[in-house]
């Protein structure tokens, strides 16, 4: 009798597990190639959150031969170009059908050849440097490019602040920083302005020398497209030194790290980005609502987002990136790398950040950037305007 009862008990305990075993035609692996540490770690974590939220919203993909479960495999490229190849290699070895990432153009460029050799299509999410897709046939991206972003900001500097002199600050060796500063300078000079540019080495904590240099050069606008780690230093030191020159930056500064550093100061910080939290479009609003609820549900996710639920643009892009990957899987109708590589160029998708389609380089056909400004009293972003290519005065 006892044996019979214990057997029933064991079977009863197994029942829930049997119920959990769903009926899937198989599993498809999507690789997440992002930094979770290092100077770009904060942004990488926010982008990864967007991807995980998208996986929460759409955990499966339906192909012609059944429903497949989508599994996410994550690696940390540590924001560093020499750790990048082995991290990318790991994703290739784990059987990723398609890879999403990275935040940070340098690590994306460094991994491009590895993905190419493995035949894996990579979809860049917020890496804006042209070299990511140029010459890399399997690398695509869904965000706009730095030549565009640089031009947008140069025009904004002239229109909003009537600036004729600018000072750019970039991190030595960081493709994103140096590239964006270069395109900004070119566009600004074409508008008739003067630019003084400086670069700081990795590991710098002291920016007073650079800020003083900016003041001494008579700059009317400071353009500092650095990663968030250095951004917070620059902001606190600018505030401490009483700098009043308006500061401009690219999409890396769209983060609560900047808002926290700027809170309570008098600095003017304007940033170009991919997405605006206040966008009232239906898809965007629904995304914002759902994402915030999902974040607030889990303290660890909230911590990864910077301790609050302000939606970073890269999270929205990460969400769109995942959905685009699902579209690529559907179009290829399989999880095989070569099938995906053949058909991914034709993918189109209406995302929360706008309409996404690829051109012959693998770049997204994007022509809009949002400009937002920090509100230092409420520690939040204020929408300023949408800048399109057609608005730019030549």
């Amino acid at each position: 009798m006892k044996k019979f009862l214990s057997l029933i008990l064991i079977l009863a305990m197994l029942l829930p597990t049997m119920a959990l075993a769903e009926d899937y035609a198989g599993e498809i692996v999507i690789g997440i190639y992002e930094p979770a540490s290092g100077p770009n770690g904060a942004g990488g974590k926010q982008e990864t959150l967007g991807i995980y939220y998208a996986n929460y919203v759409a955990p499966t993909v339906e192909l012609s031969d059944g429903v497949y479960k989508v599994k996410l495999v994550e690696v940390d490229n540590q924001s560093s170009n020499d750790k990048a190849p082995s991290a990318a290699q790991q994703l290739v070895s784990e059987g990723s059908s398609i890879v999403l990432g990275s935040y940070g153009s340098g690590v994306s460029i460094a991994a491009a050849d590895i993905f190419d050799a493995g035949g894996v299509v990579a979809i860049g999410i917020s890496c804006t440097n042209p070299q990511v897709t140029l010459g890399n046939p399997l690398y695509y991206r869904i965000c706009y490019l730095d030549p565009f972003q640089g031009t947008v900001l140069a025009n904004f500097a002239k229109d909003e602040f009537n600036a004729t002199k600018a000072y750019t600050l970039a991190q030595l060796g960081n493709d994103y920083d140096v590239g964006l500063a270069h395109y900004f300078s070119k566009a600004f000079e074409e508008l008739g302005g003067e630019v003084k540019g400086e670069e700081f080495p990795l590991g710098t904590s002291d920016f007073t020398a650079y800020l003083t240099s900016a003041v001494n050069s008579g700059a009317e606008v400071i353009f500092a497209p650095t990663s968030t780690e250095f951004a917070s230093q620059i902001i606190t030191q600018a505030a401490a030194n009483g700098i009043t020159i308006p500061i401009l930056a690219g999409d890396t500064w769209d983060s609560s790290v900047i808002l926290k550093a700027a809170e309570g100061t008098d600095l003017s910080i304007s940033v170009s980005t991919f997405f605006d939290e206040g966008d009232t479009g239906a898809a965007a609003a629904e995304f914002v609502k759902g994402f915030k609820a999902w974040l607030n549900d889990n303290p660890e996710k909230l911590a990864n987002n910077g301790g609050n639920d302000i939606v970073a643009a890269v999270s929205a892009l990460g969400y769109d990136g995942y959905m685009v990957a699902l579209e690529a899987l559907k179009l290829a109708d399989s999880g095989d790398r070569d099938d995906i590589a053949d058909t991914v160029a034709e993918v189109t998708y209406e995302g929360v950040t706008g309409f996404i389609a690829f051109d012959e380089n693998g770049d997204a056909k994007r022509d809009q950037a949002f400009i937002i400004k920090s509100d230092n009293e409420t520690a939040s972003w204020k929408f300023v305007k949408v800048q399109s290519v057609s608005d730019i005065s030549k």
Binding site: S37, S86, Q90, I109, D175, E199, D338
Partner: protein, 473 residues
């Protein structure tokens, strides 16, 4: 015994002959496909048509990786639709494993040659040389075979390639620190010079405009052949070592360490300098230069270099180095010119560090000055210490262990693992490096002599059984 060896070797030659014959005569893939995929089934199944078309397309593109991948898929997905008789199966086996069988055949030939030689030449030194030759052949053919079986992008091959490169770097550092007793921390600087020299001279001219995008295409517009570029890399590093050695080598050990560390940092700053951009691309990535695609290349280059270093150490120069390490003043009193020998050690070590840097550049496919920090030097120093200062085989062994542990075996420590619903504590990103550092500290504190101490790996010691009985006295 002699007859047995000769008969065995003849049998091996015959086996090798078979393998070579079949490997060369494996028919080309398109006709093979026609044989195994019946025409009628193909016309009915669209999927089958697509799969076959893909294989033919990859063949036309001459993309070997893609061809094999597509072939594997065809065989997996459509195993029920394909008709294969015994001959087709054999043919297919030889086509798919072409390289493996050829390499194996080559190895068998070498083995049989060794057997014949060992049967005919009785002297001890020939026997040792023969065993060495067989072992080396086994190593290289083994690597080639494993690479083709496992795929050159797998984790194992990645670890082996990086391990081979670090082995060369460790041995070159051991030459300086372990054998000559000069505590130098400038390795990263010489690796940097070697890597950049190699990369600058092998970037594909068509891509130069793109790589040097901020410097209008850069100053250097030609390319050199790969081997020339590698040797040039070594020479460039050696040249700078010579210049640096002039003032620095007369400093005492601690000061020498700091001075070389300082020079490495200065070199790094110079390479990041914007003004030199047209040559070095400033602080930006260098890419699109010639890389290797088989693990045999780094193994071959490292092997040759390590052999050269071993020859140097076993020569009179090597004995002078050891004398300097043991007691500088005594060595000088014995007539060894300190400065000349120190310079020789320094320059040679840096030459090979430069070559190691070039190999590292080929492995990483991108080069950037910011990556060659003093942390890289410390890693190599730790490898040397773990392997045993003064032991070449120790350095080689330790570098493979080091790379395997940090890149592969301990990677699971970085992943958040759940047993059921219980989240295993401590396991998350970064734990791997912590465990790794603790292991290194344990070795440094408790196994000070390292794995091999200052002895070399010797087959004799391994094969001879210990003489039994207790020692007296």
């Amino acid at each position: 015994m002699k007859a047995f060896k000769i008969i065995l070797s003849l049998l091996l030659v015959v086996l090798a002959g078979f393998l070579i014959f079949y490997s060369i005569n494996a028919s080309d893939l398109s006709t093979l496909l026609e044989d195994i995929v019946p025409q009628e089934t193909m016309q009915q199944d669209k999927g089958l048509q697509k799969a076959v078309k893909r294989i033919n397309d990859s063949l036309a593109e001459a993309n070997q990786d893609k061809t094999l991948r597509s072939l594997n898929r065809l065989l997996e997905d459509f195993s029920d639709k394909i008709q294969m008789d015994a001959e087709a199966k054999l043919d297919l086996f030889f086509y798919r494993n072409n390289k493996v069988t050829l390499a194996f055949a080559l190895f068998i030939l070498i083995l049989s040659a060794a057997l014949i030689a060992s049967a005919l030449l009785k002297q001890q030194k020939y026997q040792k040389a023969i065993i060495m030759a067989v072992l080396i052949a086994m190593l290289y053919s083994g690597i080639y075979i494993v690479e083709n079986l496992v795929g050159s992008n797998s984790m194992l091959m990645t670890v082996l390639k990086k391990g081979a490169i670090y082995a060369l770097l460790a041995v070159s550092m051991n030459l300086l620190n372990g054998f000559t007793g000069l505590f130098s921390l400038g390795q990263a600087g010489f690796m940097l010079i070697g890597a950049y020299t190699y990369a600058i001279f092998t970037i594909d001219p068509a891509s130069r405009a793109q790589v040097y995008q901020y410097y209008d295409g850069g100053l250097v517009q030609f390319t050199l052949p790969v081997m020339v570029a590698i040797i040039l890399a070594g020479l460039a590093a050696a040249f700078f070592a010579f210049l640096i050695g002039l003032p620095v080598l007369r400093l005492k050990s601690d000061y020498l360490a700091i001075a070389t560390l300082g020079f490495a940092e200065i070199i790094r700053a110079i390479f990041q300098y914007d003004g030199l951009g047209p040559i070095t691309n400033g602080s930006n990535l260098l890419r699109k230069f010639t890389t290797f695609n088989t693990a045999l290349f780094p193994f071959a280059v490292s092997g040759i270099c390590i052999a050269l270093i071993a020859l140097l150490i076993n020569s009179t120069y090597g004995r002078s180095f050891k004398a300097i390490r043991d007691d500088e003043v005594a060595a000088e009193a014995m007539g060894i010119n300190l400065f000349v020998h120190k310079q020789l050690a320094f320059v040679t070590s840096s030459f090979f560090a430069g070559i190691g840097g070039a190999l590292l550049a080929m492995y990483q496919t991108t080069v950037q000055a910011a990556a060659f920090t003093s942390a890289m030097t410390y890693e190599i120093l730790l490898i040397v210490v773990i392997g045993g200062m003064g032991s070449i085989s120790g350095s080689v062994l330790a570098s493979f262990l080091f790379v395997a542990s940090s890149e592969w075996w301990l990677r699971f420590l970085d992943n958040v693992t759940y047993i059921g619903t219980f989240k295993v504590p401590l396991l998350r990103s970064g734990f791997r490096m912590v465990v790794f550092s603790v292991i290194i500290m344990a070795v440094v504190l408790f196994y000070r002599k390292g794995i091999m101490g200052d002895k070399e790996f010797s087959l004799k010691r391994l094969l001879e059984p210990r003489k039994g009985g207790k020692r007296r006295g």
